[in-house]
């Protein structure tokens, strides 16, 4: 992954060089065009425990900045900036009463949450339920945002496996 270089201030009378053009124009344009991003999914069974579980994923869909290492439910921030982060989890059909939550935490020791969706499941026939959460957050190098599912139906629920859609976690750099 290419690095961003603070664009230089050009001086009156300065002779432009190939080195400067490549570093400050070509490489920076490529950086903005080819943003850091990752997406990962779980390809085999995942148990959604009563009381919550990290959404571990075992398969990388794309990853341009070494942000994901299988098997994990977190990502590694390699450069500062605003990131869009998201996750999606679908349950197999069940009739468990309670809430279902998709949540993304900063995981920086602050206890802060980046994004959260919570829905209430009442008495009904056995149904699938999908929760997805997406949010933007400023992250710094070394942070490891984590992706969580929570449910309190009283029993474990199996996650549905839906190709690249669920269980899945993703993120992309948006700017400094």
């Amino acid at each position: 992954m290419m690095a961003w270089t603070t664009p230089r201030t050009w001086l009156t009378g300065e002779i432009v060089t190939a080195g400067n053009f490549n570093l400050y124009l070509k490489d920076n344009l490529n950086y903005l065009y080819n943003v850091p991003r990752f997406k990962a999914r779980q390809s085999t069974a995942l148990t959604l425990y009563n009381g919550g579980v990290l959404v571990d994923c075992n398969t990388e869909v794309y990853d341009t900045d070494n942000m994901f290492t299988a098997t994990d439910g977190t990502c590694d921030i390699r450069r500062n900036g605003v990131y869009t982060l998201g996750c999606c989890i679908r349950e197999a059909n069940n009739s468990g009463v309670g809430v279902r939550e998709a949540r993304i935490d900063y995981e920086d020791g602050s206890g802060r949450i980046i994004a959260q969706t919570v829905i209430r499941i009442g008495n009904d026939s056995s149904q699938g339920h999908t929760v997805t959460a997406t949010g933007d957050a400023y992250c710094t190098i070394g942070m490891t945002p984590s992706f969580w599912h929570y449910q309190n139906s009283g029993a474990s629920i199996a996650a549905s496996i839906g190709a690249n859609a669920y269980p899945a976690i993703w993120g992309s750099w948006r700017g400094i």
Binding site: K26, N34, T132
Partner: protein, 173 residues
């Protein structure tokens, strides 16, 4: 506007206006003015029970890159890369259980989905949306689909451009 892979400048090379315009100006404009659209529906959409219903929209708020052509439940990518895609709808008030869902698919793979259970006893509107990212090739059609299984057809609300909508934008290569 299209993206042109920035050239590698050579020592001793003469800097031309054409190269500066193509490799610097046009690429900067591309990154500044990315392909994007947002579409919505101005009339109620009937969502038949237990049937995949195309979230057809007849109007657009913006469309850079000619991604969307009304009336349609889909858009077509015009450049390869990372795309953020989203859709949502609101069902008008009714008393009925079941779930309601929406999702986005590229025709081969599901990209993202949201599916919530309805309250079977309250007469309330309920809206939901999903938001996902995917790396897509150019000329890929992404479709927005709605689904509910209350037992009867239900209409979407006609409200503030969010009764039935979908949107997308290019984020990077």
């Amino acid at each position: 506007m299209v993206w042109t892979t920035p050239k590698s400048w050579l020592v001793g090379e003469l800097v031309t206006a054409a190269n500066m315009n193509l490799h610097v100006r046009d690429n900067m404009n591309f990154l500044y003015n990315v392909p994007r659209y947002r579409a919505y529906r101005t009339t109620a959409l009937s969502v038949t029970s237990a049937t995949n219903i195309n979230m057809s929209c007849d109007s657009q708020i913006y469309d850079i890159g000619a991604l969307f052509a009304p009336t349609s439940h889909s858009f077509t990518t015009n450049v390869t890369g990372l795309w953020t895609v989203m859709c949502g709808y609101q069902l008008d008030t009714f008393i009925g259980g079941g779930v309601q869902a929406c999702w986005l698919t590229d025709g081969t793979n599901l990209i993202v989905e949201q599916m919530w259970q309805r309250n079977a006893t309250n007469d309330e509107q309920q809206s939901l949306a999903c938001h996902g990212q995917a790396v897509l090739s150019a000329s890929v059609t992404v479709s927005a689909i709605a689904w509910q299984n209350s037992g009867s057809a239900r209409n979407t609300s006609v409200i503030a451009r969010i009764g039935c909508w979908h949107a997308g934008s290019w984020k990077g290569a």
